[in-house]
Every structure is written in C-alpha cells, then in structure tokens.
C-alpha cells in the first residue's frame, strides 16, 4: 500500500501546529504593509474537488523494421536503487510510466531495454545502435493508436553523462527515446555507455 515497491519509509503523522496567536514577534514597532493596486484579470479559481485518476494510454509494442526490432512494451517504474526499472527479459522493452506516453504531445517518452542478459543472451535493443537517421519507429498503444516516429539522432555516451533531467523531461516537443547499454564492458562495472536513439513524431 503506502509502503509501495520495496524499502520505502513508513509515513509518520507529523502534526505541526501554527505558532500561538500572539503579536508577530518578527516585527517590533511600525510595520510596513504593502498596499495593493490590483491590475490584470480576476484571480482564477476552481473547485477543489478530487480529480479522478486518468490512466495513461500505455505503449504496448515497438517496431523498428530497419534494424529488425519488433518487441512488446510494458510499463515500468523505479528499481530499488533509484534507477529506471527494466523488464528482465531483453526482448521485452520497458516504458517509463512516470513520464509521458506515446502520442501525449509533449515531453520525452522513454523506452529502454536490456542489451543482453546472462540468462537470455542478446536482446532486441542490441540492434538500436545500428539504426540511422531517417529510420521509422512505430509504437502502438493500448487503445490501438499507431504512432510513427522518425529517427533523428543515434549516439553513445558514458553513463555518467546521460542528461537525466532532459532524458526524463515532461516538457518540450514530444520525442521518443530508445535507450540501452553499450560500449566497453567490465565484469565489475558493467557497460560503460548508454546508447540513446532519439526519434520525433513523423
């Protein structure tokens, strides 16, 4: 329930009371109050009602035919270590469910998949580094929407340089980010790089 997925702190009832009603101790003597000359339109207000939760129309599949990728997509969240969670099987791609969904119109839609796994070998996203500018990406959502994107950038960069705030941004024009690992591999440290393919709505 509130503890959620593993290791969250339990909520505590912290009751904070307002300070006792005495003369404001911060302002001895005359007080400068700001006099308002109100300009502009009326202050906007709205009913403070409980808003129903709107489930996102999640992506369910991705195809990049130029590099022979056709994979199932499932929603994922945060792993215990604070990194993005990925589906264990490298042929299943994870969509970061706390970010925008495909076709949402704004922000970065993040799809990530393991480049490989010890158990299953190489994954579908092992091929994304071969994609080229201009390749088509097709994403289908739960409701049956087909969304087309065009690759505009393919790059590899050291993991420490992955611009997390940008990669997971909800702002700006909609873009699709396909992410996996690559580069040099070290038994202790794992892969050195993230491979990031950026695509924009076609």
């Amino acid at each position: 329930m509130l503890a959620g997925c593993g290791g969250e702190t339990q909520p505590s009832a912290e009751l904070s009371a307002p300070s006792p009603a005495t003369a404001n101790p911060q302002s001895p003597g005359p007080v400068a109050t700001v006099e308002l000359e109100l300009t502009g339109p009326e202050v906007p207000r709205s009913p403070a009602t409980v808003a129903p939760a709107e489930p996102a129309d999640a992506p369910v599949s991705i195809e990049v035919s130029a590099v022979d990728i056709s994979a199932e997509v499932v929603p994922v969240g945060i792993a215990d270590d604070g990194q993005m969670e990925l589906p264990p099987h490298p042929d299943v791609i994870g969509w970061y469910r706390f970010g925008p969904t495909a076709g949402n119109g704004a922000g970065s839609v993040v799809l990530a998949g393991h480049v490989d796994s010890r158990k299953y070998g190489l994954g579908q996203f092992a091929r994304i580094h071969e994609s080229e500018v201009g390749d088509e990406v097709l994403v289908r959502t739960e409701s049956g929407r087909d969304l087309r994107y065009t690759v505009v950038d393919v790059r590899s960069l050291p993991k420490a340089q992955l611009p997390l705030a940008d990669v997971f941004s909800r702002e700006g024009h909609e873009r699709l980010l396909l992410i996996t690992c690559g580069g040099d591999f070290d038994r202790q440290q794992g892969y050195a790089d993230n491979i990031v393919v950026t695509a924009v709505p076609a």
Partner: protein, 306 residues
C-alpha cells in the same frame, strides 16, 4: 497562472491593528463572535528562517500563495490591505497560485458585497508572507465552528523518483480524526487546524477520514491519485454538526526527480572494448593450436604403424 501586483508602501502601526473588539456579524444567526482575538496573528507553520529560500533576490522577495475557501454556505469577497483580491469566492474553491511580494498583509473576508466598509466575517491583520515560501491561506471553521483563517506552508522540496507526497489538513468544525489509507490509519489524531504529511510511492489510494481511534467514517472513501512527482494536499472542511463535511484537494506539480540511471545490460555480449576482442582472439588461436596438435599426433601415429 501567476498574477502580478503593483505596489505602494504604506506604513501601518501594528499596535493599532491588534486593538479591536469582538464583533457580532449581522449574517451570523448563531450570534457567535466571528473574530476572536486569538485569530489575530496568522502565524506560519514553519519558522521564517526555514521558509526563506536561497536563490535570486527576486525569488526571496516573492511568495507563491493559494487561497482556499473552506467556510460553508458563505460566498465572500476577500480583501488584502484594503484592495479586493478575490470577489465572489465560493466555498470549496481554490485559487490558482498567486505570486505575491513578501511582506505583511491585512486580510479581511466579507460576506459578498459587504466589503470594504462592512464588518468582515473573518479578519486577520499582520499576516506575514515570507519570501520564497509556497503557502496556502485557508478560510475555515475552527473546531468550535467559528470562521477563522490559517496559513499553511507547503512542502515543495524535491521528491525522490517514483514517489509522491500526501498531506492531510484538518480545517473542519469536527473533533480529532484519523486519516486512513486503504482502511489503515495513517495520520492519527489530527486536530483542527493541523496537518500531517508523508512521502510515499506514487499510485492510487483509497482514503477516508474516521473519528480518531474509531471506525466511524466521517468523510470518504475517495480514490486519490498520488501522481509521481506531485504533492497532493487533502483538506477536511465544513461542519460535522451541520452535516456538510467535505474533502478539498490541492495539487502541486513538478516536484519530482528523474531516475538516476538506465542500467540496461549485464552480460558483456555487446562489449566493444579491444581487450575483450583480444581475449576472444587469443582463445580462438589457442583452440586452433590445440586442434592442430591433435591432428599432427594422429598422423604421426598412423605413419609409424606402416
């Protein structure tokens, strides 16, 4: 949507502001005093030193303030420092966040049409709005049913990725309550005008409000979407006696953090490093060498037999 105000500075004597009498308001059928002296100083729930944020000078000179009207059956006009700020303000409504210069405010809340010369239903002088703070001013009933106002400072600190913040504020004419999540008491013994808060995993919860220590539901259940990166503030307002208790919700977005990485591989099968390449090459060479040795021995053995 932010609203900017233009300002003139007027000096006011605080002592004069504090010296006023309890008044009976004509609209009050119960004959209660709507302005008890204890209401004078709307102090904030956080010390001023904590509320001032670091950053640019302009950020420190301004505050973000929302106003919630939680007094039932009373449409009001809200005046700040003699100017009409929110006309025709209906119960259960919340303003958009306003950007206000930090400083001292005299708040007067009149029944609609009665201001600025009439007797205010709620009056609070010398309300300090500190620079850099994000706060909600709530007009509400005290536990005893008297209209009053409380300033709550909102926690807008960053949320860990995957998390949401939930805050419960008791601003109803009602005794102490427990706020339950999925029927488990989570904030216990909450009284008017206090709050409790927690950072939790994002998700949808079912929340209700019971009399403290009991299972007597007085509000809800309601499904609340605690969206990732968002603070959801739930107010219990209204009057138990008048049977108009209700829930009001305020959300503050964009408090979240991204995940701190995308760990997408573990087996080294896509390794591009040259040392591994050499290792594999060496292995292949060794295998060929071993195979060649076996072949040579066999031929020699066969040859020897002839």
């Amino acid at each position: 949507m932010m609203r900017q105000f233009t300002w003139r500075i007027v000096h006011v004597d605080l002592e004069t502001l504090l010296d006023w009498d309890c008044k009976v308001i004509p609209i009050d059928v119960r004959g209660k005093c709507y302005a008890p002296k204890r209401m004078i100083a709307l102090a904030l729930t956080m010390p001023l030193a904590m509320a001032v944020a670091t950053g640019t000078a302009s950020a420190q000179d301004e505050a973000t303030v929302s106003v919630l009207h939680g007094v039932p059956d009373l449409t009001v006009d809200v005046f700040a420092n003699g100017e009409e700020l929110i006309p025709g303000f209906e119960p259960g409504t919340l303003t958009d966040p306003l950007t206000l210069p930090a400083g001292s405010y005299d708040i007067e809340i009149f029944a609609e049409g009665e201001g600025p010369d009439g007797d205010p239903a709620i009056e609070a002088a010398g309300v300090e709005v500190p620079g850099g703070a994000n706060a909600t001013i709530v007009a509400h009933l005290s536990e005893g049913g008297d209209p009053t106002a409380t300033v709550f400072v909102n926690d807008v600190s960053e949320l860990a990725a995957g998390n949401a913040r939930v805050t419960a504020r008791h601003v109803a004419a009602a005794p102490a309550v427990d706020v339950r999540v999925n029927e488990t008491p989570t904030f216990e013994g909450l009284t008017n005008p206090n709050e409790a808060t927690a950072d939790v995993a994002a998700g949808t919860i079912s929340a209700d409000v019971v009399l403290a220590g009991s299972e007597d539901v007085v509000l809800g259940p309601a499904d609340l979407n605690l969206a990732e990166g968002t603070s959801t503030i739930v107010y219990a307002w209204g009057s138990a006696e008048d049977e108009n208790l209700d829930l009001a919700v305020q959300t503050i977005d964009d408090l979240g953090a991204p995940p701190n990485g995308v760990p997408a591989g573990e087996a080294g099968l896509a390794d591009t490093s040259s040392t591994t390449g050499l290792w594999i090459l060496g292995l292949v060479v060794a295998l060929f060498a071993a195979a060649a040795t076996v072949l040579v021995r066999r031929r020699t053995t066969i040859g020897a037999r002839h």
